[in-house]
Symmetry: C2
């Protein structure tokens, strides 16, 4: 029944409906497990796009949210404030990099990036300076609204819209061989004095298939950006909240970002919310006796108390000994799995950052090629939900995953090497 | 305590923090009433930006959502589907204009507009046609992401970003005097064959201060758009779900829109969600054996089951006899209030569409001028939350507002005429 209505009336994201198989109806989720309507179980090895990190339907989060929504569901966030918002601010200030001072609310990762870009452009505009260019990494992904799309470099998403983009220059992601060339290119671009901001996914480029780069190399670029007084924007929508082994990937860096984008596991997967945080330097540039120097951006559900409550509870869980121990446990388990599989002839390379583990298969395939679907089906048959990107299979499981469940995921990946 | 943290760490939307008074801490909300931390009560006469239309913390909606979040909180909406999404599709198909066939999910009004614009641009791109221009109304407001901002015409929001906008032409909102001129202008623009879409807020321009236009005049423009094969986008984020006296403002028109944007009261104010619906004509243009002709837009929380459940419950309430009767009751009450106040020398004009009532005061003031704050404070003193826009005071109260509460709102507005 659901499948029939789905086919008739639902347009799914990131889907070519003509060739896509019927959508699987998920009926229930609990802990690390998804249950479909036919009674099949799947380990959610990517935590539903890195959101449900504390387990699906986490009883602590749902209890807190249930209480909140009976007391204060929503109120306009201009002129009014409320305890869920200020408590969340307090929680975040304890764990965000120390230069972060203000938080601005929105509803998803894309809007958190559009906001970061707008803050950067207006930061200079308010000072009478014209800096209209943004620099971003090749193959970066930052979202799907026009601003976020402009700074993203994955072409399948962008084709029909490129005429409408912000003015963006791209630099290569640094590695040990190209770092001097990348720095030179970066300096050439910045020397024009028209660059407002540099945006990057710190350490791990998620949608590019969990590509990783060294903290030290990124740090060298951030040092240069600071020298040219360019605003640095860390898009931690994917990397935030413990996944890289620290609360934020930015903690691996010496140079702290001026602006940070947050979403996904911010609310533990229960309800949408996003935050753009920034340093006091950014905020100060918007204070003025002229009304229009304020930041006239606002979403209706800004700081929705229900979402704030889910976020407060999620951060409490993140900081618990139990979850912190779990992060260490998963890191160690991934490490030996990757060491083990790394020598297999069908494996090209492996990499890891915190609890994010990725395996590049020794094959060529399109991002959405046939092999990707073959692998997807194979894993689902084995009771594991993994979502390969091109020839990359990655694991980003909920923090609460058990050792037995991890073993099952590893086994599924090992077995899949036999079918390619 | 909350106020102190607020001041230290929170950046509010649409706020010049240098001159803005301290934010009032709202502690609780129930039905039509907001309660602050000092025990003061305010009637929420604008339903927290037109979201909490069934009353704050509505027990029916919160109960359904509490159950849902214990069963299925979230799952990736590519490859998977679920009953909350398909049930919501079924509910919406019963009430949306009959040509609407597909729904695409996102998280707020701005993204629903960016999606509508991207659908329109790619619709032509997929057919090998270059149509890159959008037409929008003067003083329209469609949101704050780069796409949505581009089609919005309220300058205080746009100043620093205009270099980065989509290519947009504006036409005047039609009235009985200018209609022939507007039509001629519209035809001139459309004759260039480079227009992809025409976006409009049907009947009521919300952020422009509840400006209203005749259905017949808008319909004449839509007829012209259809002749030129231009996609029509009805932004019903504010007008949707009963506020204009019908479920959707588009129902007052003969020409149906190709695309509709929905958010705000879609989920009854409990959690964020937005939907972009469209006709089959639009959807068909994305079906292809070429993967990249699909719509590669996706937000992580697309079709979040918690939000879908809030929306299903909200639509059930909307369709109930109780709410439908209430809409009639409020319409009638507004009508006699406006007739009564219309002759007051301090009143310039009044207007009404469904349960939306607006009074233009016979004074000049900036959108965010001093008088606006004076009026705001006056209403709050009287226990009524109203949010004047320039010299316009408008009412858009929850459907469940009582006659006594309505009388109190009317009285506050009448009394405020004495202080201006």
């Amino acid at each position: 029944m659901s499948q029939k209505v789905d086919k008739q009336h639902i347009w799914h994201p990131l889907t070519q409906h003509q060739s896509h198989p019927e959508h699987i109806v998920i009926k229930k989720a609990k802990g690390a497990i998804l249950y479909d309507e036919n009674g099949n179980e799947y380990i959610d090895a990517i935590a539903s796009w890195y959101t449900c990190m504390y387990g699906h339907c986490n009883p602590y989060i749902t209890q807190k949210v249930s209480e909140q929504m009976r007391n204060l569901d929503h109120v306009v966030f201009t002129g009014f404030t409320h305890k869920p918002a200020t408590d969340l601010a307090t929680s975040l200030m304890k764990i965000l990099p120390q230069n972060q001072q203000k938080i601005f609310f929105s509803d998803n990762g894309s809007t958190s990036v559009d906001i970061a870009l707008k803050m950067s452009l207006q930061y200079y505009f308010n000072q009478g300076l014209k800096r209209n260019k943004i620099i971003a990494f090749q193959d970066g992904f930052h979202g799907d609204t026009f601003g976020a799309m402009s700074v993203s470099g994955l072409s399948i998403y962008n084709g029909p819209f490129e005429d409408h983009f912000l003015d963006v220059d791209r630099i290569a992601v640094p590695n040990k061989s190209n770092i001097e060339k990348v720095k030179k290119h970066f300096i050439t671009l910045l020397s024009k004095n028209n660059v407002a901001a540099f945006i990057y996914e710190p350490l791990v480029q998620g949608a590019a298939a969990m590509k990783m780069h060294d903290a030290d190399l990124l740090n060298q670029l951030l040092e240069i950006a600071k020298k040219f007084n360019v605003i640095t924007i860390a898009d931690e929508v994917m990397t935030g909240f413990g996944k890289t082994g620290k609360n934020f990937a930015s903690e691996y860096l010496i140079e702290l970002p001026d602006i940070i984008c947050l979403s996904k596991s911010l609310t533990g997967g229960l309800v949408p919310m996003a935050i753009t945080s920034c340093s006091d330097k950014i905020y100060q540039a918007f204070l003025s006796s002229e009304m229009e120097k304020g930041f006239f951006h606002g979403h209706t559900y800004s700081a929705n108390p229900t979402s704030c409550t889910a976020a407060i509870a999620s951060i409490e869980l993140l900081m618990s000994k139990e979850i912190q121990n779990s992060i260490d446990r998963i890191k160690t388990a991934h490490k030996s799995f990757l060491e083990n599989i790394n020598n297999h002839p069908k494996v090209k390379s492996t990499r890891q950052q915190g609890i994010i583990a990725a395996v590049d298969l020794n094959i060529e395939t399109d991002r959405y090629g046939d092999l990707r679907y073959k692998l997807f089906d194979f894993y689902m048959e084995k009771g594991v939900y993994l979502r390969p990107l091109g020839n990359t299979v990655y694991i980003l499981a909920p923090f609460i995953i058990s050792n037995e469940q991890l073993t099952k995921i590893y086994k599924a990946i090992e077995d899949s090497l036999e079918i390619i």
